[in-house]
Symmetry: C2
Subunit: 351 residues, 2 copies
DNA sequence: ATGAAAGCGCTAACAG
DNA sequence: CTGTTAGCGCTTTCAT
């Protein structure tokens, strides 16, 4: 075994250095009341001098908080994304928004993969909760739509925030997917398109329905017919996008534009179109959803709706931290702005 | 304040359920010696029945281990990568390899960003260490090359593993960058190239030198002249790749192929070549380093050396966990195999 | 406004 | 082989 590590500096050392009691140091650390400014400064100086940082484990043991947030991502989808190297940056954006926001408040975000479909989700999550005792949980799609998970968390009285899941229990933060689909569709309509195909996402995700709804709304408000044949079912994957696009392009009156509910499906649409001898955007316009890095590098680069993943995660973290601090969270259901990034895949339809 | 949470199940409950002492349960959890199989089974059954999972915080408080590994990444580079949305998947691959390996052993990997250049690195790292008390630290480039960091860790007697930094203190895991550059260069030579340009990486990274060395070695063993003008200085960024490529293509006797030390620089080379009216690979071959997702989607897709980031991180985690378990780590300096992925950007030179 | 005492859930060291 | 005791570093509750 290794020799004992150099003893770390604890709250005791700070107390001794500042000539006060343990408790006073604790109060200063936690911005507690009832500490004279003079003493506060003395303690702060001691902390600074000794380079003291409180141990998360000890804080969790003593008190009721752990200063930990647990982010739950879909296991299969995440691992598949990593392995495939398709450049999906969901996780990166989550970390960018969530980690940095946590760091601002002395919190840590811990990242965990769980399989929504597994019969043992409940066990898996309970285990992680018992192990870490997080002060809050961030649910990414589709976990926020899974009642097994949300009910478990509610029962355990652990605050949680769902990203991209509307109107569920707990906090909610998302973008207006319906409006985004409408804006995307309006963009195509304004270019002159009249027959616009839509490739939907997996029904497991609540946002898939919202996107479809927004597409329909755009058609209606433009006075265009809603042809059910123009809506093809997908599940966000490249393969499903390929099949859906083939169906769409095989129609007697084929669409002049396609709005697909994910980048992978859009890329599939692009590929199918090109191998059918169609030029994008001359013969077919394509608009995508998500705006992951790769769509900037396809030829042509894709017009896409960008999801504000980092801001959403930051917002979720912020709400949970507020809740942990006992501050009231006024707006428990936030909607963040999205963006339509116009690139080279959308243009006027062929005459 | 919220009502008290439902009391979590602790080691006490398990002990009561199994009718044994606390300590016996602890022994079972930790695979300790001196427990009869019968009792062991009884305890295991109780654990299973109650769904008991030990609290990391409590284990850390009582014992000498935290079951935490801390991964230190370069702050600026990581955040810039996330913001730019260039599809760099270093972090994803780290998580894929590191997190999953940690999970296998009941460990957690915590991810932290620190700025190597900051005068306060030492403070930043000490703070994270005091806060988390990790059992080991994983250093990604260029942290492993920074003596301030490695010496701090050594002084604190915290086991650490450096990724992509050869022969330093602590554990080391990397790939043979020199050999990779040689293989990449040999690939070009075997296609018939005789004038091969090289764009180097930032000198702050030890592996930059190794890659240059491998390139030179390949030229030498093929009996080709080493023209210093064919080596252009870069720093891994797109901008530096643009400048370097311009220099290379401006040479009186310009190269017929370029080996660049990063994907961003290769993409820059591709862009400069194309805007100079050169066709890739007809007029100029390009071979890249790293093989991040985007290089599959450029036109043409780039031939590249793939770094085994996930395996390297997994290996680093494994070594640190072994060390924490008191098991001897035999091979403290591992080299993992890389791969040359041949795509469409390399071909025979123009005649 | 400050301090003292108790205890969080676990492991280490020592008894038996 | 198994149980008992004493903390780990902090926060809580209660005194002062």
């Amino acid at each position: 075994m290794s020799p004992p590590r150099p003893r770390a500096v604890t709250i005791k050392h700070v107390a001794a250095e500042a000539g006060v009691s343990l408790q006073t140091v604790s109060r200063v650390i936690n911005d507690g009341p009832n500490v004279r400014d003079e003493i506060k400064n003395r303690v702060r100086a001691a902390i600074d001098k000794l380079g003291y940082v409180p141990s998360l484990a000890a804080r969790r043991m003593g008190g009721t908080r752990s200063y930990l947030l647990l982010a739950l991502n879909d296991r299969d989808r995440t691992i598949d994304g990593w392995r495939s190297g398709d450049g999906t940056d969901w996780v990166d954006q989550m970390l960018l928004g969530g980690m940095l926001k946590c760091a601002e408040h002395g919190y840590r975000m811990i990242f965990e993969l769980v399989d929504t479909h597994d019969a043992r989700v409940e066990r898996a999550i309970s285990g992680a909760l018992a192990q870490l005792h997080p002060d809050g949980v961030i649910l990414t799609p589709p976990h926020g739509d899974n009642p097994v998970i949300t009910e478990l968390l509610a029962k355990l009285k652990i605050p949680f925030a769902s990203i991209g899941s509307e109107g569920g229990p707990g906090f909610t933060v998302g973008m207006d997917d319906a409006e985004a689909a409408k804006v995307a569709t309006d963009h195509l309509i304004s270019l002159g398109h009249r027959r616009i195909g839509f490739i939907s996402g997996s029904e497991e995700y609540a946002l898939s329905g919202a996107r479809l709804e927004g597409y329909r709304r755009a058609l209606r408000s433009a006075g265009l017919a809603e042809d059910p044949a123009l809506v093809a079912g997908g599940d966000f994957t490249f393969a499903s996008g390929t099949a859906a696009t083939r169906d769409l392009l095989a129609l007697a009156k084929r669409p002049t534009a396609i709005l697909a509910s994910s980048d992978q499906m859009s890329l599939a649409a692009l590929q199918v179109a090109q191998s059918s001898g169609l030029q994008v955007p001359r013969d077919l316009s394509i608009v995508s959803f998500d705006d992951t890095p790769i769509v900037k590098f396809s030829t042509p680069a894709l017009t896409a709706i960008r999801q504000p993943i980092a801001p959403m995660t930051a917002c979720a973290a912020q709400m949970l931290i507020c809740a942990a601090n006992g501050e009231p969270v006024t707006d428990t259901c936030r909607t963040l702005p999205f963006e339509l990034i116009v690139r080279a895949s959308s243009a006027a339809p062929p005459r």
